[in-house]
């Protein structure tokens, strides 16, 4: 059964530990701005929202990418950008309805959560259990697909 990263946003305290752990694991630097999971706040003091790639059924980011850098990996089913090919136009960032398309402002390249090859570091460090890595039952997948269809593609 496929596993998915899920969020219980009401539990998130906005501590941003996941950003640090992610950047250390994936980029080997402690730099939240280069994390694949991002904890956004609308304004100081307001609620935090962790955002990350949902690996949509029909990803708009792949449709928008002008150099075909974003593809679904056949082996894992994940939607991942190829950093070598990415030109850093940022088109995927503006169009993602889930705010899940990250961007490395230092290297000017798209960043996407790849679930750490099935062992997501953010889940392990999350102090409140807001982030969980769970088996996705079919109804969950169906619901997600229906939502995606309602969003745009049918």
């Amino acid at each position: 059964m496929a596993k998915v990263l899920v969020l219980d946003s009401e539990r998130c305290l906005g501590c941003k530990l996941c950003e640090i752990v992610c950047s250390v694991k994936k980029e080997r630097v402690s730099d939240p701005s280069r994390s694949r999971i991002r904890v956004l706040r609308w304004e100081r003091g307001q609620e935090a929202l962790p955002v990350f790639c949902q690996h949509c059924e029909e990803p708009l980011c792949a449709l928008v990418c002008p150099v075909d850098a974003i593809k679904r990996e056949e082996s894992t089913g994940l939607v991942v950008p190829d950093r070598e090919i990415c030109v850093g136009c940022g088109g995927c960032v503006s169009i993602c309805p889930m705010l899940g398309a990250g961007f490395d402002n230092r290297e000017h390249k798209a960043l996407r959560c790849d679930l750490c090859q099935g062992d997501p570091a953010c889940v392990k460090c999350c102090p409140t259990g807001a982030l969980r890595y769970v088996d996705s039952d079919q109804s969950q997948i169906d619901r997600k697909r229906a939502a995606a269809r309602k969003l745009y593609l049918r």
């Binding site: 946003s9 956004l40 609308w42 708009l60 449709l63 002008p66 030109v87 940022g90 503006s94 705010l99």
Partner: protein
């Protein structure tokens, strides 16, 4: 054997041919293009001009990729005549009878009817050949006419090549179709900070010189230049097609139904040469963007091969980069709307700026500068045409995901804004 012919191998035609193959394993699929290259991305031509990416990154597909899908790709093959009744395409050295046709002939740059625009040294930026011409150009001064996204990209690319670049725009701000004054001003300043001169509200009158470009005369001044990049707009490339063969819309693009079928049976159209509905504004028109062309191509091609897929409409999210600063826009601009039912909420934050345009209590436009991700989160809400006053009576639910989060974040500002009108 059934023959599906696709005219034009831009992203729309290329996707159409592939989609047709996925639906029909047996048909003969012929893809004709007047280009000598299999498929390249217009969107990154400026990066190539600026030497930021090599040619291999611009070219997206090789002939072998089409061969694998058993698509007969005919390069440097301009279709010069279409006999719709006889179901026949003619090119210089032959003809092709077909059963189903997909028109994907794209767009071409508008050339104004003014003196001197045929001189050597006047270039558009549309094809790879144009990009090569700009890379090979010699000289030190360039004038770019038009400040749409392509004009801006061209100006930045030439400036990165070391040229002294001047942008001339007829309207009162840069990127006039994408941004209102406040953000357009910031973007203009960014161009100027990088050494590009920007002249607004100025009309280009002629290109001067003998055979070659020597200067551009506007209604205010004369600008010496060895190269003129002309990017004042794109029109559907339909010289092959006649209004008696298929119906055109008011926009000048081919009119298609939800299935991307034209008014003529057995003929589909997709990409820049067609008109479509904007999912956010509801406007029918030319929505010449890469992803729209790609999706339209997929649907037209699949349906030409016998499927019954529907195109949802165009999603006109446009992103521009100005010296590594990103800005994006979708929907109506405040400057396009009149009347007191329109209100604007302009937020500044550490991550950038966000400008929301509301009409009749619905969100109808968003412009973003800096981190543009919040714009994407708002598009769904715009498409649903949700009444924000109603939404704000109770707190937007957590189950609404990012859009709900944005609304909760904006709740106070929105209330203040709406109670004011």
């Amino acid at each position: 054997m059934k023959v599906i012919a696709v005219v034009g191998n831009g992203i729309a035609g290329s996707e159409a041919a592939e989609a047709a193959r996925r639906v029909d394993r047996d048909a003969r699929i012929v893809l004709l293009t007047k280009e000598p290259y299999p498929l390249y991305s217009a969107c990154v031509l400026a990066d190539y001009v600026a030497d930021r990416i090599p040619l291999e990154r611009v070219v997206l597909k090789r002939a072998a990729d089409f061969g694998r899908d058993r698509i007969d790709l005919l390069l440097s093959k301009q279709v010069v005549e279409w006999s719709a009744d006889a179901r026949m395409l003619r090119f210089e050295d032959g003809e092709l009878p077909y059963d189903r046709l997909v028109i994907a002939t794209g767009s071409r740059p508008v050339v104004p009817n003014l003196p001197g625009f045929n001189k050597e040294g006047v270039v558009a930026l549309k094809t790879l050949a144009d990009a090569e011409q700009l890379r090979a150009a010699r000289g030190g001064a360039a004038v770019v006419v038009g400040t749409g996204p392509v004009g801006i990209e061209a100006a930045i690319a030439l400036s990165r090549r070391g040229w002294k670049v001047t942008l001339v725009e007829l309207l009162d701000r840069v990127l006039p179709r994408l941004f209102d004054e406040p953000l357009a001003l910031i973007l203009k300043k960014r161009l100027e900070d990088h050494g590009i001169d920007v002249f607004l509200g100025e009309r280009v009158l002629e290109v001067q010189g003998d055979a070659r470009v020597e200067a551009v005369r506007t209604d205010r001044r004369i600008l010496t230049a060895e190269t003129v990049v002309l990017v004042i707009g794109m029109r559907p490339e339909l010289s092959l097609v006649d209004r008696k063969q298929v119906a055109f819309g008011d926009s000048g693009g081919v009119r298609v139904d939800r299935h991307m079928q034209t008014s003529r049976e057995g003929v589909w159209a997709c990409g820049d040469c067609t008109e479509s509905e904007d999912l956010v504004t509801g406007r029918i028109g030319l929505h010449m963007l890469w992803h729209n062309a790609r999706l339209q191509g997929r649907i037209a091609g699949a349906n030409a091969a016998g499927a019954h897929r529907q195109y949802p409409g165009s999603l006109n999210v446009t992103t521009v980069n100005i010296f590594d600063e990103t800005a994006a826009s979708v929907g109506f601009l405040a400057s396009e709307l009149t009347g007191n039912e329109m209100t604007v909420l302009h937020k500044k934050a550490p991550w950038g700026e966000l400008r929301l345009i509301l009409k009749d209590q619905c969100l109808v436009g968003v412009q973003a500068l800096g981190s543009t991700d919040r714009l994407g989160g708002l598009v769904t809400m715009m498409m649903q045409g949700r009444n924000l006053r109603k939404v704000l009576l109770k707190k937007p639910a957590v189950s609404e995901g990012p859009a709900g989060w944005i609304l909760r974040g904006l709740q106070r500002d929105l209330r203040r804004l709406m109670d004011a009108d």
